[in-house]
Symmetry: D2
Amino acid sequence: MTANFRSDNESAVAGPVMEAIVAANEGAAHAYAEDDWSMRLDQAFSDLFETPTRVLPMATGTAANSIALATVTPPWGSVLCHRQAHVYSDESGAPEFYGHGLRLVPVDGALGRMSPDALAHAYAGCAGHGVHSYVPSAMTLTQSTESGTVYQPDDMAALNAQARGHGLATHLDGARFANAVVRLGCSPADTSWRAGVEMMSFGASKNGCMAAEALLFFGDERDSRYETAERMRKRGGHLFSKMRYVSAQLLAYINDGLWLELAGNANEQAARFAAMVARHAEAELEYPVEANEVFVRWSTDGFEALERAGIEFLTWPGQDDLGRFVFSHSTTAEDTDRLIAAMGG
Amino acid sequence: MTANFRSDNESAVAGPVMEAIVAANEGAAHAYAEDDWSMRLDQAFSDLFETPTRVLPMATGTAANSIALATVTPPWGSVLCHRQAHVYSDESGAPEFYGHGLRLVPVDGALGRMSPDALAHAYAGCAGHGVHSYVPSAMTLTQSTESGTVYQPDDMAALNAQARGHGLATHLDGARFANAVVRLGCSPADTSWRAGVEMMSFGASKNGCMAAEALLFFGDERDSRYETAERMRKRGGHLFSKMRYVSAQLLAYINDGLWLELAGNANEQAARFAAMVARHAEAELEYPVEANEVFVRWSTDGFEALERAGIEFLTWPGQDDLGRFVFSHSTTAEDTDRLIAAMGG
Amino acid sequence: MTANFRSDNESAVAGPVMEAIVAANEGAAHAYAEDDWSMRLDQAFSDLFETPTRVLPMATGTAANSIALATVTPPWGSVLCHRQAHVYSDESGAPEFYGHGLRLVPVDGALGRMSPDALAHAYAGCAGHGVHSYVPSAMTLTQSTESGTVYQPDDMAALNAQARGHGLATHLDGARFANAVVRLGCSPADTSWRAGVEMMSFGASKNGCMAAEALLFFGDERDSRYETAERMRKRGGHLFSKMRYVSAQLLAYINDGLWLELAGNANEQAARFAAMVARHAEAELEYPVEANEVFVRWSTDGFEALERAGIEFLTWPGQDDLGRFVFSHSTTAEDTDRLIAAMGG
Amino acid sequence: MTANFRSDNESAVAGPVMEAIVAANEGAAHAYAEDDWSMRLDQAFSDLFETPTRVLPMATGTAANSIALATVTPPWGSVLCHRQAHVYSDESGAPEFYGHGLRLVPVDGALGRMSPDALAHAYAGCAGHGVHSYVPSAMTLTQSTESGTVYQPDDMAALNAQARGHGLATHLDGARFANAVVRLGCSPADTSWRAGVEMMSFGASKNGCMAAEALLFFGDERDSRYETAERMRKRGGHLFSKMRYVSAQLLAYINDGLWLELAGNANEQAARFAAMVARHAEAELEYPVEANEVFVRWSTDGFEALERAGIEFLTWPGQDDLGRFVFSHSTTAEDTDRLIAAMGG
């Protein structure tokens, strides 16, 4: 028997979400997001985010990210993103596909966070050569980051202000947004639109849903952007006929704080493990642990022993001394205990 | 209270399929279709179709159709399809999107079925002008058709042989394949690869699944085409992290004949309604009823009365005297009785 | 020795145009259309067309047509065009390429001219199905048509008014615009923007230039459309570094009525030939001859005899009894005499 | 009066090339590269390169580069290029456009030359993550480089061998190939296919032609790649009807060593200027001068004085102390003297 820390996207569906799916399975419902569940999304997310919000439900984060970016970026436009961003490293060019050859420009920054200087540098490097250059058109941040850290709301606001000052549209990849909100203890609004975010991929699949993401549009341009994105969703084959089952997941997920409760467990288990690693004689933390991902620098021998003990986790090609352990809504205290014990903690 | 005959894609999920989803919700599973459910698909469909088959699970028929066609058609290639085909009329250019500007060439044919002469004519019209023309690259048929009719296996085989004689790859849109197989009383193989089909969108969402389609590859080129299609699925955002829930639907759907049982009910209810229409004083059948769709030509007044009686169905802009009634796996005899009664039958 | 009536695009460059190219070959000039020649285009064409006009010089009609249509049509938009239009039949999907999968919708109409009824029918057929359909976005006409006929200004105005009433942008493929203007004896404005045309591919290559087309933008949206098209021109590799040689061609071509003089010769020779065909015992005219193309219906034997006599012309696959004869600026009276004699005229 | 050192693409057309254009202007010729000039290209370049070569004539380097890369790279493939490469920095995404969203991966390397270590690092960084990553598919080098340096044939061969060892197709951007060949004093073959190059954009526009580039295909796959590229050329609007005028330029350009003679002058003038800068009290050379481009590091005051003296050259945004001076086939000794004098040399 194994314990799986490979990724939170390998976790099962949370009980209340599955119950909502089953509950939605009653009789016929109008297709293509014209069902009762989908039609309640705008109101539910407007309430949650304390601002008028348009919601486009989808089944994958890759689709949500790509469609968001393509909505605000012409084929000859570029999108600035952190070098480790999922859109840049893990989506096989889905943003370029939906954006018909738009370009992603990687921006540096320590601990998974884009730095203002690096953003300024990258912007300068891609602007200003007339029709010979791509037109910088958007910026996307990730909260929490691919390194398991979070942006403080003020830092996020500063980066978004910098981007909007250059005329860039702003997007947030919130695949692990819940973990960040729990960590920050703030309102969802504080680390999204109040911090300058105009569009957001509100992730739910990793944190207890089956396949559900909400592409959110805030602000004055929300309606026109929503309409463009809606066309792309259909054309990409992401307009489900039985969208009710996606929307029911989302409604259950944000109902009564479930999403924060689920993320709370993930963060808590990650923190327990991180505390052990911090005290470990040989292993050490690669990044500060601020959400539900823990990156550990250790010996190859150590990692191999873990694997033999039935612990599943990820390493990267050519980097055998760096392991990633992701904690999810369904990680139990026993799972974490077992991992800790296996590391000799 | 209403009775919904708008489309089978508005039906709920069949009990055994939902049970399979719930049963799959146990512990962690490897992401991105490397789970135990997904890894059983090739064998399960090879058994069902009596030939080695590669299976790419996806959530929508639009994605399956588009990716299939783009896999065998270069951007400067064309795809011949029936003028009423879903890929041509209802997917907002998804095939053109996945195929980077490939062209769909509509082919005529009565009762929703492409005619050999019309295929010959269309092929002649689009071939043979060197680099100035699109290269005819693929043909797609729909079984059962958009008119609610079916192709006899021999007729399908002849069309596919004609297409393959021109060097075209062959695809079958099987959004309502189950209904055709029930009607024909044949093996699935008989009206797919044995009839010359190389790739097939095996639809399940309309007939009892939640969001599940299997893109099937038969024949000698199945592996290389599968690999190309796999890239497109990822790039289109259709590689679900929690694919197990899609694959579990498909496995349950084809297990022990469930899919045929579900389609059998739909066909049976459609036949009951059709029999009544055939006897109706004013209304008449637009097409022979061979599957689960019934197209009725009637007066506008008649249709309006139906709507007032709580019957939901579709008409088309500018064609108020043509109504479509679709029967699904979950249409009850009482639903059909009610429809019949509302029409004065 | 042969006489070439295959296409006017096989003719040489007119003397004054070649002289202008040679004259432009003096010293250095700023690259990428920032040279003195290119910068005079807006004024020169504004004068010619009697209205403020933005001009984007390019080398091919395919590029001009495709970029124009892509400028006003989203990837999920459609363009209505005559079934025989060059964009539909002879550009291998260039409009779909530049437009990222937009769709061309063929419209019927006798004698190469789109009919208002067919336009209404085609529009009705492609509109109105929400996100499931392409959005009708533009209409393109061809003047003179692919059948060698012309639109009367009033007819063109009516079609464009109909299109604009549906919210479609309007484009004119003017590959043989000069021949139409000569035929009509009107101002260029009368059969372009005064007749509702918003964008126009002003062709010059077929009528005496080497490789030069001017994409023209009229009306209120001319600046923003020009800027979008400029991006596409660059991205398509059509922004020549030494654009001065393209622009010099265009300036010489429209200077002092040269373009009409050149087209006048083509039309005159075509008319002489057409008059003979009209009197011919066996051959007959397929279409009225209103510009510089003559389509002749004749026996296969007759056409083969012509070929043996050194007359070059085009037939189509499967239509051996239809020949196309195109007359150009450089067709001499002797060439035409020879053709007439060879047909026994 | 000014002296222009902004770019060699601002130079006029060399006398013999213009004479060839004028000479080609005799009578009709078959369109679309089926003329006598175009049909001689394969043989002429096979002779020049001492190996069977397929030639696709085009008018711009951007088109040649983009079509070459798209020919060997799927939309989900990546192309490794030097960070300063024209395809990456100056073509507004034309390779991404022709390649439907392929990705360019910038590789570092001093003096404009890709380093083997940086190539290894970049390859490692973009390979190996299954369908989640782009597939490394091609590498492109530039000879001479964007820094005005050249690759030694052995170094080029080593890089191409490294790339081909990874299964990458190899391309050479030869916008300034002539300058490199003159510098190296080698056969064109030595610094192209003998050094592992499979496809090459043989530039001519910058070195005396009007608008002419030859996309060359070497090696066993030359025919199939040529055929794919031919489709893209048409679809991109780059198949000129009057291609004879492009092909005539290319034939004249490589006839009797003209191209090397023209490049020889450019290199010689650049060397004279570089020698002066090397001795200059304040200014200094940024890179070794090995071809026809000279990059000078100097004071802003110095550069401003040059401009006032009527010297045209380029600087970059935010880098006022770096000037680029390009010498062309038509730069006269007097032009160079004037530049030298203006710098106080």
